[in-house]
């Protein structure tokens, strides 16, 4: 049977490095990586796929996504609406041709997930249901209660088991890419359970390693969200694009940062300040609505809501909680226990377990927390980077659909739309390429091995890793928060430079091989410092305010389309801060306009439609 032929054979042994030969290597086993693996397997079952992940795939952070995935579903909706919501939501920093492809493919890929068993919540007549989400004109968010990411991830993981050509390297930690003849030809990874090195050759490589939000302190993110793939590509000369745009989610649990999904508001929840006042009406999102109205009030975009929180805090209108600090209230009481248990069971459970609050009886204290990395590895509309044969998808990539602010529920869809596309593209390319030059690749792998081993074996260091990490996350929060100032951003840039130096003097407690997480966390911290630098330096260079990048200083408080309707591009400079350049933004059918929500947004929509007629 052909299946047996597709199984891997353990090939020759290098010097301390195991070698596997694959056709397509995928780094990252979250939603995007799994979708890409399935796409490769379906497009050509004879291709050998290596799926490398530092955690078992179902632990990947896709699992924590709650609200849902956007795709046009209703009769009264259109691809054009989804397009305009996305481009406007991204403050016109989107690649519009890519967004067009994205909205077109969204319903197709979400339907495919349904065929694979994803338990989307249904209407009474058995069809897939949709819910409203922030910044979306029409309801189009497909959801599986408030565990949409969990169900998507498990559906994809379990479906991937069907394909014998997908060979998983679970709990393998990727430390470098292999580059030869101007092409990416594989990766080097540590088998975490043994501490030994494996070289995985591939004619094409897809990065699907997720975001980098863990460089901030208070975040919704899992410990694994450390920007590994971004740093890997960055160090090989690929640009990190739009890294200054970090999304603050407006409704997070104080201190831990755990997420209360936007669906809380989609289902009708209110945000109120210490006076019980729905303060969003003061920030261009009104007038007040009784029922959830798309693009009004609580259904505004995340950047605007998080910024409104900041202003409320400045005005002294937030609630000062003895433990949680400054918070506002997410009020779900009027929705009733039965409805909350049906639509938001995880939220209910989290409020009870983590905060001792019954959301049907008490409002939930919330504040903004870091949630999503809009920027990432720069790729073209086919997901390929400037390094031939290297692709990037999902949160680690910047394919251009999120611009300066992602709309909630676009990123889960991104995983499957671009996972599929990258899988198909990487498969096609792999079919046409000869096998790599193994001895030369092995030499590179051994160099990487020596470099990474040195981090563990060296002695005499004095810096404690957790100290450096704490200083990094604090500094990022201070300098690159919801609102930014030249001076504090400069401090952050300086601090990161200092931490880069101090990292060289790090000392590890654990020098062993088996399951040495002390060592792996140090490699992650090394990645994080690179990515944090790209963020801080991109931020200080963007002298305007757009989407999630808002400045309070001088002349930079407004959007400046003349000088900054451009993508920032951070390039790695060994031993120094990154170099920041700029690239054009692809505009097809939506010229930049004022970004308005609430009644003002509706008026702007009407005017635009009138001018098109």
């Amino acid at each position: 049977m052909a299946l047996a032929a597709a199984k891997f054979a353990l090939s020759e042994k290098g010097l301390g490095v195991e070698i596997y030969k694959a056709d397509v290597v995928i780094v990252g086993g979250g939603g995007a990586g799994l979708r890409a693996a399935i796409a490769v397997a379906e497009s050509d079952p004879s291709l050998k796929i290596a799926l490398v992940s530092k955690v078992y795939p179902m632990r990947s952070h896709t699992v924590a996504a709650e609200g849902g995935a956007a795709g046009v579903k209703r009769e009264d909706d259109s691809l054009d609406y989804h397009f305009h919501d996305t481009v406007g939501g991204g403050d016109w920093l989107c690649e519009q041709d890519v967004v067009e492809y994205f909205v077109e493919q969204a319903p197709i890929e979400l339907t495919r997930l349904e065929h694979w068993g994803c338990p989307w919540t249904r209407t009474a007549d058995g069809h897939v249901n949709v819910r409203p989400f922030g910044g979306m004109k029409i309801m189009r968010t497909w959801f599986a209660a408030d565990k949409s990411g969990f169900h998507i991830l498990h559906t994809l993981f379990q479906t991937s088991i069907k394909y014998p050509s997908i060979k998983r390297f679970d709990e393998y930690f990727c430390i470098d890419l292999l580059e030869e003849d101007g092409r990416c030809q594989g990766v080097v990874a540590i088998e975490m359970g043994t501490g030994e090195f494996t070289m995985i050759e591939g004619k094409t490589v897809i990065l699907a390693t997720g975001g980098a939000g863990r460089v901030f302190r208070e975040s919704t993110l899992g410990g694994i969200v450390t920007g590994d793939g971004m740093a890997l590509a960055f160090r090989h000369g690929v640009a990190l694009r739009d890294m200054e745009f970090m999304q603050y989610h407006p409704t997070c649990m104080p201190i831990t940062g755990l997420l209360f999904t936007e669906a809380c508001r989609g289902e009708g929840g209110y945000l109120v300040n210490k006076d019980g006042y729905r303060f969003l009406q003061d920030y261009g999102l009104g007038p007040l609505q009784d029922k959830p109205k798309n693009k009004y009030m609580e259904l505004g975009p995340r950047d605007r809501l998080s910024q409104a929180f900041w202003h409320e805090q400045q005005k002294g209108r937030t609630i000062e909680h003895p433990v949680f600090g400054s918070v506002v209230h997410l009020d779900l009481r009027h929705l009733g226990e039965a409805y909350l248990r049906e639509r938001l069971p995880l939220i209910y459970e989290m409020a009870e377990t983590f905060m001792g609050i019954d959301p049907a009886k008490e409002p939930i204290p919330v504040r903004p927390g870091i949630h999503y990395t809009m920027g990432g590895v720069k790729v073209d509309g086919k997901c390929e980077t400037s390094l031939s044969g290297l692709y990037a998808i999902g949160e680690c990539a910047s394919v251009g659909i999120h611009g300066a602010n992602r709309l909630g529920s676009n990123s889960l869809t991104e995983l499957v739309v671009f996972g599929k596309l990258a899988g198909d593209e990487a498969a096609k390319k792999a079919q046409s390429l000869p096998p790599g030059n193994s001895p030369s690749l092995l030499k590179q792998a051994q160099e990487a091995e020596q470099r990474v081993l040195a981090l563990k074996t060296k002695t005499g260091g004095t810096e404690r890793m957790s100290t450096l990490r704490k200083e990094m996350v604090k500094s990022m929060e201070d300098g690159c928060g919801i609102y930014r100032l030249e001076e504090t951003m400069q401090k952050t840039c300086d601090k990161l430079g200092e931490l880069r130096e101090r990292f060289k003097n790090i000392n590890l407690d654990d020098k062993t091989s088996v399951w040495n997480t002390d060592w792996l966390y140090a490699i992650e911290l090394d990645y994080q410092l690179d990515v944090a630098q790209s963020m801080a330096h991109s931020a200080i260079s963007r002298k305007e305010s757009r989407g999630a990048h808002q400045r309070l200083d001088g002349a930079y408080t407004e959007r400046d389309d003349v000088n900054y309707l451009k993508h920032s591009e951070a390039y790695y400079v060994p031993g120094s801060a990154p170099r920041i350049g700029y690239g054009d933004v692809k505009i097809t059918k939506s010229p930049p306009a004022a970004r308005a929500y609430g009644a003002a947004g509706e008026k702007a929509d009407q005017e635009r439609n009138a001018s098109h007629v």
């Binding site: 952070h61 339907t111 065929h115 694979w116 983590f354």
Partner: protein
């Protein structure tokens, strides 16, 4: 901030490159009332001993990484709070019934093989193209399987089930719940294939209805129920095959 208190956390440690067998170490950890046992263990790693090893990620009881025996009971350490034990000492140990790789990390490869063995994917009853849209699934059909989709693969149920250690090939509660999940899905037609495994030597009859698996399940999947229902199903299949040429399974 609430005042700082100190909790004693006793960790069963095992360093395979130097220890012959696991040994206990006690750490004194300052904590606040919002801190989970996971955060306590993280505090030890950050401040006392970087070699302490455990899996974790999401911190919100959905990724399934951070299961540990906490005072002898399998729990997700991220949603277990130090305040509920204070001032008593907390003991933390790797999940029972699995081999310990290092400290709190266990070998999950056996579980993963079982998960792969149960064919955890839709084997379509009536294949459908994307152009035809989604399958229609009534609320009643949905209710048949949805509970069993909630499994986060945290394997607490395996740490609760003595049979998974006494008969290591037993498919076990979590994987059986998943098997049942696909069998009950109206889109699926693969029940007969999966029941072969459920009824086999490694299948449901290894279970003696201890019931602790369902007790410890953090997501109320009730895996023990899935196992026991399939004892009935497997039994029916066995007898019905004498009556019908096609066998009992649909």
């Amino acid at each position: 901030m609430s005042e700082q208190k100190i909790i004693e956390i006793e960790v069963l440690r095992y360093l395979p490159e130097s220890d012959q067998a696991p040994h206990s170490e006690v750490y004194k950890v300052p904590f606040t009332d919002d801190m989970s046992v996971l955060q306590g263990v993280q505090y030890i790693k950050d401040n006392f001993d970087g070699s302490l090893t455990f899996r974790w990620s999401c911190r919100m009881a959905i990724c399934g990484s951070c299961g540990m025996m906490i005072n002898g009971i399998p729990k997700l350490s991220c949603e277990t709070f130090i305040r509920d034990y204070y001032p008593q000492r907390i003991s933390v140990e790797a999940l029972a019934h699995f081999p310990i790789e290092k400290d709190l990390v266990v070998d999950l490869s056996g579980f993963i093989e079982k998960l792969e063995a149960i064919q955890p994917y839709i084997i379509p009853k009536e294949p459908r193209t994307v152009e035809e849209g989604e399958y229609i699934q009534t609320p009643a059909q949905f209710a048949e399987y949805i509970q069993y989709t909630s499994c986060i693969n945290c394997v607490l149920c395996y740490a609760a089930c003595p049979h998974t250690a006494l008969s290591p090939d037993f498919i076990g509660p979590g994987a059986m719940a998943l098997l049942h999940r696909y069998n009950m899905d109206s889109r699926d037609g693969g029940k007969a294939q999966r029941m072969e495994l459920a009824a086999s030597e490694d299948g449901v009859y290894n279970c003696s209805a201890v019931g602790y698996c369902s007790e410890v399940c953090p997501k109320k999947v009730d895996p023990g129920n899935a196992v026991n229902i399939n004892k009935i199903n497997a039994g029916m299949d066995y007898f019905l095959r004498f009556l019908s040429p096609k066998g009992g399974a649909k």
